[in-house]
Amino acid sequence: MGMKSQVITAFTILTFSLTAAHAVEGDPVAGKQAVAVCQSCHQPDGSGMNIPGGESWPKLAGLNASYLYKQLLDIKEGTRKSPTMNPFVDMLNEQQLKDVAVYYSQLPPNEGKGGEKATDEQLARGEKLATDGDWNRYIVPCSSCHGSDNQGAGDHFPGIAGQHAGYIADQLRAWKSGKRDNDPQHLMLAIAERLDDEDIVAVSAWLSRQPAKPAK
């Protein structure tokens, strides 16, 4: 087995380095310069802003860098529609988008807003959807992809715990209406379109009150 474990070790190292090679190579120092254009909405600390009745600005601090970069690229290429974001991503080249993604991913997240006024009933409904789902309607729990604590899983499934309720709700509605359509394999669309508006309000409120992944 000695030989075998060496092979496994070598394989693990190879796999690891391949994975690392896929990670976004960005410079957080350069990113700090480039984020000047982002800060008026996403704030210097990356905490964004929950705006009741308006377009909420997502919290970016602590999000996975590869996920952030893909979103920025999708907006630049038009596969994710965001009239608000368009002028800003157009000011940055691809390397700067990587730098910005890495910079924000390394900031410590603050708590999410927008769930303060949720009722106990709404929070219970939101928690159930997020952690158990509702299989009778084929709504799988958020945690099955976004990680057991909903703090994100891998490069494709962003942390949603501690995100602003207004932003989560906006996005779920955008999937339902077809306005947002850039999720891989439509994994999010499938679930979003099975949620009704009460589900959306409840799950967004509950998630916003959960702790986001602490920065490394």
Binding site: W135, V140, S148, A153, P184, H186, L187, E193
Partner: protein, 337 residues
């Protein structure tokens, strides 16, 4: 027993169940429909109770506590890692929706058809013994002791899910039971086609190398092959079982989105990779395949050569357990004395 529960004897609860499944499938305006097959006439439909129903029930508080523990073990079996579980699986990895979901081998039928004869081990099995089988093969593990608290809890959870279902009705008449076998694939099964389908539909979660995703020591997406996946004796290492699981359940949230042909191809691709040894291993893979051929291995790729490599020809137990076959896995010669 066959034919006892025909359409005319459907209870009110059963009718309500049909209604709920019908509603589920009625959302055809969705871009990602679920396309869950509807019950056929004469099938027994059971909608298992939920954990909310348990809380509202008038069962003894101590029994509720035991059932809650069973549910917790079922959805987070990883808490037994290193003790009873030696891979990255949970019960709910294959039995989706807390073991309640039709076409995802819902576990309530086990509580109403056992004890029964099983060809896999050629004797009459109790519910606990059936659970022992899952731990030994699918979890590549060492089952909780017969009669132990954890075994009691798991068995009680199964029985709770079967609440109200008559014992020993015809297995064939149960709607959504098991992983119903798909029609044979017209084009056979292809490793190459399976690989393409896997990379397009599965690898985002389960990774190109089948290892799934482990994050902060926690399994997020289960491994499909390799040391931390199910072993060569697991039911789902049979291509017909895995293809049906995939067709009816994967990608998660998008059941019935792949064709039958695609499901067979990707199942055979997944099951053409190496995994921990079958606990029934005799020391020779060809001999082991032959010994369990008719009852099991004629449906697996174990002991077959795939891409120039003989699958299962190794002593690898997965790297986490130090025994081949758990003691709980034993033959029975029934004596009436």
């Amino acid at each position: 027993m066959d034919g006892l529960f025909t359409k005319s004897s459907l209870s009110l609860a059963v009718a309500a169940g049909v209604l709920s499944f019908t509603l589920q499938a009625a959302n055809t305006e969705h871009r990602v429909p679920t396309n869950i097959p509807q019950p056929e006439e004469g099938q027994f439909v059971h909608v298992p109770p939920t954990m909310d129903d348990l809380e509202k029930s008038n069962l003894h508080p101590e029994l509720k506590r035991v059932i809650r523990r069973g549910h917790d073990l079922f959805v987070n079996t990883q808490q037994l890692r290193g003790k009873n579980v030696f891979n990255g699986m949970n019960c709910s990895s294959c039995h989706l929706g807390e073991g309640r979901q039709p076409f995802s081998a819902p576990v309530w039928p086990a509580a109403v058809v056992l004890p029964n004869y099983r060809t896999k081990n050629d004797h009459v099995n109790s519910l606990e013994e059936r659970i022992v089988g899952c731990f030994s093969f699918s979890m590549n593990g060492k089952p909780p002791e017969y009669g132990s608290d954890n075994m009691l809890a798991l068995a009680a959870y199964h029985q709770w899910l079967a609440k109200g279902v008559p014992m020993y009705q015809s297995g064939k008449s149960m709607y959504g039971r098991g992983f119903p076998k798909l029609p044979e694939p017209e084009k056979g099964m292809s490793f190459e086609r399976g690989k393409q389908i896997y990379e397009a539909n599965c690898s985002i979660c389960h990774a190109a190398d089948g290892s799934g995703l482990v994050q902060n020591g926690e399994v997020v997406f289960p491994p499909l092959w390799g040391d931390t996946s199910y072993n060569w004796g697991a039911g789902i290492s049979r291509n017909f079982t895995l293809s049906s699981f995939i067709k009816h359940n994967m990608p998660l949230g998008q059941p019935n989105s792949l064709t039958g042909q695609e499901s067979w191809d990707v199942a055979s691709y997944i099951n053409s990779h190496e995994r921990p040894q079958d606990p029934r291993y005799t020391g020779n893979v060809k001999e082991t395949r032959e010994k369990y051929l008719d009852t099991f291995h004629k449906y697996t790729n174990y002991g077959l050569e795939v891409n120039g490599k003989l699958l299962g020809d190794h002593d690898n137990l997965g790297g986490e357990k130090d025994f081949l076959k758990p003691d709980a896995l034993r033959p029975r010669t029934f004596s009436a004395e």
